[in-house]
Amino acid sequence: MRIPRLLGWAPGVVVVVLLALLPWSALDVPGVLPGPLDSPGTLQVLAVCLVFAGLALSYDVLFGFTGLLSFGHALYFAVGVYVTAIALTRWHWALLPSAGLALGCGLVVAALVGAVSLRVRGIAFAMVTLAFAQAGSVLVVQDPLAVTGGEQGLGLDVGKVPDAFIGVLNTRNLYWLALALAVVVFLVVRLVTTSPAGHVWAAIRENEQRVTVLGLRSYPFKLIAFVVASTLATLCGVVYVLVVGGASVGVTTADFTLSLLVMVVLGGSGVRWGAMLGGFVYMLLDQRLGSLAGVGGVAALPGVLRVPLSQPLFLLGVLFVLVVMFLPGGLASLVRIRRTRRARDLPRRPLPEAEGV
């Protein structure tokens, strides 16, 4: 039945259209946004949120859809960020070749790291991914080839970046670029997760042994998921470095990957728009909660309350704990949409709890 199918797309299309029209609106949301919707500051904030919506979704391909807990996703994002920055700034390449190089590197690194890491499972897999990401982080900081800028980071030399993306007035173009990225990531993820391979991923997530019993080898499928997820992350990195105008070491750390984990669980892992929502909301809170302390009512609070409230990560951490404890399906589970059961609910047993299994 084609008609119900098309209707299913409707909410998403409406959202994208609304987001695309945003830069022409002078709507002001005080507190939440730094200025009216058409101001460069706000568009910058929203662009970052959109990039992370895409990045969070790419992480969820691994975590929510295939059941792979990786602590090294930051590595591929960092590859996207740093290779693009280095190519543009140090080697003075044009934008498209730089982006292409970054994507290529991301693909190759993901294939290699994935091939090695996926030989083990569970915690061992998580640790190996952590190790490789940590290696990447060390390489960036130590900067043996003197290209990354080490701890100081690398500002983007905009010489080779198309004019459309330079300048405060053109922030809206960067915003639309980020929106386009989010849409592309969503479409790609939707394509692969609803494909036959995607069904195998879901099966692996539920019960890997059963997949092997059915005569399929899980390794190649996991590797594909790994490479797809990582390359998408690299793509996000390419756009990110344009949006923020530089590369910094913060994107290479394990803490960065952990924040991705927080994003997808917050939004609802295993649900595509859930993961994106999580990424968007997290980055919005992260960027904006800092100014909450300055808002009149909060500044007047006694230190005991004011201090925690002035720290975005404190609020996010507490929010995250509450979500994990009481809302395992994330924000997405608040919206009741009748869907075939895809959401990766952190398991709740239907029968009485039994201890010690």
Binding site: M127, Q142, Q311, V321
Partner: protein, 292 residues
């Protein structure tokens, strides 16, 4: 020769710090299958409280350090016990959720520290005699390093005593091997869980207080940078094995120091990561862990 000696002592000192963090992590994972991401935050709490006590206490330098370490360890232990009782325990059977909860608490705790004391490094009032050196074999060995190593050895000894001589230790050893069977013998393992969490927290808090003295300053991020190496030590040593962590900590500390010096700065860190990858692929259970 003297260089080798200094490197060795520095490596062992660093290793001792890693061991203090790793020992708790290893037991917590071995017994409860929980990756405690709040461990780094507990370390930072120990570091800041230790610094605060050391900066405000007007007694002899050595005593100050002792009190600081004790306060750091006890507070971290209490926080860890609270974390286990209030949150982790309620998520029994949901292992990923337990890990996630520790991530959230870790984030919140570090942010809280940052809110209270700011993100700039605070200088630690290191006692004079810790900075002084003794010349051994032509090398100037800072006393601070020796203190750290000594504390590491003492804690190792205490852990081994606890595991081998007490009933709780027996329960923990058995539980690491086969948790279900322990409950099938009528023992409530949950009490052992809280105890292990608290002990791990104490060791982390102690490590924090010592790290402050070791590095000369404390920052809110102190925990996360050390935590990664601690995880690596835990995995190389074998999940659930305190002695394994001790051996791995020595290996990692020495490897890091020697390679950083003789090759290039940063290569040491890379080689540790390489060691982890190799161990995981060749012997996933680590040095002294149970076969996976």
């Amino acid at each position: 020769m003297s260089t080798v000696l200094v490197l060795a002592v520095t490596g062992l000192g660093l290793g001792a710090l890693y061991f203090l963090i790793a020992s708790g992590l290893s037991l917590i994972f071995g017994l409860m299958h929980v990756l405690n991401f709040a461990h780094g935050a507990l370390l930072a709490v120990g570091a800041y409280l230790g610094w605060w006590v050391a900066s405000h206490l007007d007694v002899a330098a050595g005593l100050r350090l002792l009190v600081a370490a004790a306060v750091g360890a006890v507070t971290a232990a209490a926080l860890a016990a609270l974390l286990e009782l209030g949150l982790v325990r309620r998520l029994y059977q949901r292992e990923i959720a337990q890990v996630l909860v520790t991530v959230g608490v870790g984030l919140a705790l570090v942010a809280l520290l940052q809110g209270i004391w700011g993100s700039d490094p605070k200088t630690y009032p290191v006692p004079h005699w810790m900075v002084e050196t003794t010349t051994v074999g032509g090398a100037a060995i800072p006393h601070g390093r020796l203190v750290t190593i000594a504390v590491g050895l003492v804690v190792l000894g205490l852990f081994v005593l606890f595991l081998r001589r007490t009933r709780f230790g027996l329960v923990v050893r058995a539980g690491v091997e086969n948790r279900a069977m322990v409950t099938a013998l009528g023992i409530d393992v949950r009490r052992a869980f809280t105890l292990v969490f608290a002990l791990g927290g104490a060791a982390a808090g102690l490590a924090g207080a010592l790290a402050g003295a070791y590095f000369g300053s404390v920052t809110p991020q102190l925990g996360s940078s050390l935590l990664i190496y601690a995880f690596i030590v835990v995995v190389i040593g074998g999940l659930g094995s305190v002695t394994g962590s001790a051996i791995a900590a020595v290996l990692v500390g020495l490897l890091q120091q020697f390679t950083n010096y003789y090759a290039a700065s940063g290569i040491g860190d890379l080689s540790v990561v390489l060691l982890l990858a190799v161990v995981l692929l060749v012997r996933p259970q680590g040095l002294l862990g149970r076969p996976v």
